[in-house]
């Protein structure tokens, strides 16, 4: 295995830096990354020359904010010009939810940097030496590839189930769960919800029997509402459920035990939240998530606009970790425009889940052809329940003129990463 002593020591120090010290350290890293990108990656050199910026001028985070943001489209178009000579031997694909997928490269040096925050996140989630972890497929995501390394270094065993993260593999997951008896699980929230739904079948064992002995579940893939976390924790009867997040482009976030909002692993990524004019927004205000990876290895991302909708949390977390906190609420694909308001599936679930009887039901937003009409249409699984109250709640809390709820009855919709359907894609029952 690779020698990790020096990087472990470095990361321990990082976690205890004051805000000013961390800013100074990050500024130095940004200067290093931009210098490397300017020197080695033609795409950035051309881009920054055109914009009149160069790494030598970078003395502060305000200076860095003058560098232009980039999009996935820019990188797909750039082709070989975006190649980093140190990009590494392994590539992962983005999910392509917003158009063409992008191949993102990982190198050993970069992975080494990302294993440290993965270990930190797993420690926060209660992983201890000697435990067995049932993990996501290492080829699913570059962050998933770091997970087994982190577990091994924390003194644990890794178990993997056969298949992938689709609902058709829940049996396979349950088989491994019952035979390996893990204390720690990483998976996706849609997968867990599919599994809970599956357990409603007459012949299935209740989920809490299968999850007996599991202490922590760490989920990705769906922003957890507080009530959804409680629902998962109570239905599975596990000690706690943690939200983990990140992007193939380098963002990495993990919740601590206080669940105030996921902490950004600021030793590996520098994240910004900007409004539509490209101006940084205050904590608590939503904007677009911009990612810069603090590594010169792997694919280089400098001020990459993920299009994710996110907000920094205000203030400090009582857990004692000084890393800032960020909640990712969704993406344009998991949101609908109603009038001039962008409503995320997360926002709608927050409203719907106020009624405990609606917890765990799948919810889909329906994208109407005419957003200007100001109508929010939501499809909810199962039979109707207090529809007038729910419509009123949606109108009031989301600030839309009209809210329509379509009750899907027995129609079951797979829990997935996709939370919005175009009106023409689905034949909805009459409300």
């Amino acid at each position: 295995m690779r020698d990790t002593t020096s990087s472990c020591a470095r990361n321990d120090v990082i976690e205890t830096l004051s805000g000013a010290q961390l800013t100074a350290w990050q500024t130095g890293r940004l200067r290093e990354v931009t210098s490397h990108a300017y020197r080695e990656v033609p795409f950035y050199r051309k881009l920054w020359d055109r914009a009149g910026v160069e790494p030598g001028m970078l003395r502060s985070l305000e200076d860095f904010a003058r560098f232009p943001t980039i999009s996935k489209h820019d990188l797909v178009q750039a082709g070989d010009c975006w190649t980093n000579p140190h990009q590494g031997p392994v590539a992962f694909s983005t999910r392509g939810t917003s158009g063409a997928p992008l191949l993102v490269w990982l190198s050993a040096e970069e992975e080494e940097a990302y294993i440290q925050p993965t270990m930190r996140g797993f420690r926060w989630a209660g992983f201890q030496s000697g435990m067995t972890a049932l993990l996501m497929s290492p080829v699913w995501h570059r962050l998933a590839a770091c997970e087994a390394h982190a577990i091994a270094r924390l003194g644990g065993r890794c178990a993997f189930f056969w298949g992938s993260m689709g609902a058709e593999f829940t049996d396979s997951f349950l088989h491994t769960l019952s035979s390996q008896r893990p204390e720690f699980i990483t998976t996706t929230a849609p997968f867990l919800l599919s599994l809970i739904r599956r357990s409603h079948g007459a012949t299935s064992r209740p989920p809490h029997e299968l999850f007996k002995g599991v202490r922590s579940v760490v989920v990705v893939g769906l922003p957890l509402t507080p009530r959804m976390r409680e629902f998962l924790r109570d239905r599975l009867e596990v000690e706690d459920v943690f939200e983990r997040g990140g992007t193939q482009e380098g963002a990495a976030i993990d919740e601590c035990r206080l669940h105030t909002a996921p902490h950004v692993h600021e030793d590996v990524c520098y994240l910004e939240v900007l409004d539509d004019a490209g101006v940084r927004v205050a904590p608590g205000v939503r904007g677009r998530l911009i990612v810069t990876k603090l590594s010169t290895a792997g694919s280089v991302f400098v001020r990459y606009d993920t299009e994710d909708i996110a907000a920094f949390a205000a203030g400090e977390c009582a857990c004692g970790c000084g890393f800032c906190r960020l909640k990712i609420y969704g993406r344009p694909e998991s949101s609908v425009l109603v009038g001039d308001r962008l409503i995320t599936a997360y926002d709608v679930r927050m409203c719907i889940e106020e009624d405990p009887a609606l917890l765990g039901r799948n919810v889909l937003l329906i994208r109407e052809a005419n957003a200007r009409a100001g109508v929010l249409t939501v499809a909810v699984e199962g039979e109707a329940r207090d529809p007038a109250k729910l419509q009123a709640r949606l109108r009031e809390q989301l600030g839309v003129a009209t809210a329509e709820v379509v009750w899907l009855g027995d129609l079951r919709v797979n829990w997935g990463f996709r939370q919005v359907l175009d009106r023409r894609e689905i034949q909805l029952p009459r409300s």
Partner: protein, 230 residues
């Protein structure tokens, strides 16, 4: 003999693979040998559309597994593209192949039809065939020829619970059971490097060593031309 102190367990159809210290490198070396037998040159870019719990995936690089000192990518000084075999991910493959020329696409037989349809839909089928070798991974026997699928350049036999990895040789067209890794008694194939259940070959012909100069001490499995999809 069971694996000592396994720290990695992979559930596979019909069984489980457990690996202790040093085990992974034995199999990564074998997998690199398999690729060479199938004509994949050193320095190649290999894309694998398989599940993460398949050794064809997780042995791809040391970046994917702890304790793996050198995966396939490091052993052939090549590159490894992780393509999960879920239907959702298969639909993305044509766009990825358009971005990057790969030398070999290794794909599970059960998703080949879906990928073929996606390639045709996006107009990449001809391009894909011109620029890369398609290696189709099957279990018990090679699939029959199906014009709806992109024609494979090679087949790769993989019986998951026996950790049986037998490449189709570029020279003799048969599937080599590498000497020192597998032993044959009657129609039973036994894994010599891993405590795995023996595999009973249901069909096909077994040729004893001396069949092919590419692996003079290997047993080989041959199928009729139809069985080979020809």
């Amino acid at each position: 003999m069971p694996t000592e102190n396994p720290y990695l367990c992979f559930d596979v159809p019909g069984g489980r693979l457990a690996f202790g210290a040093g085990d992974l490198d034995i199999w990564a070396e074998h997998l690199a040998w398999c690729y060479r037998m199938m004509g994949i040159p050193d320095g190649a870019t290999i894309a694998v559309q398989d599940f993460g719990s398949s050794p064809i995936s997780f042995l791809g690089s040391s970046l994917l597994m702890p304790g793996l000192r050198r995966g396939v990518a490091e052993r052939i000084d090549g590159r490894f593209i992780c393509l999960d075999a879920s239907a959702e991910r298969v639909t993305l493959t044509p766009a990825l192949l358009a971005q990057l020329a790969v030398d070999a696409l290794v794909i599970r037989e059960d998703v080949l039809e879906l990928l073929s349809a996606e390639l045709r839909k996006k107009g990449f089928a001809d391009l894909a065939q011109r620029t890369m070798k398609t290696i189709v991974v099957f279990g018990d026997e090679p699939p029959a020829l199906n014009p709806a699928r992109i024609p494979p350049s090679r087949y790769f036999m993989h019986v998951e619970n026996a950790l049986l990895l037998a490449p189709q040789c570029v020279k003799c067209e048969c599937f080599h059971l590498r000497d020192g890794f597998y032993d044959v008694a009657g129609r039973m194939i036994r894994n010599l490097r891993m405590p795995a259940p023996a595999y009973g070959l249901p069909r096909g012909e077994l040729f004893p060593p001396s069949h092919c100069a590419e692996g003079i001490r290997d047993w080989c499995i041959g199928w009729s031309p139809r069985g080979r999809g020809m």
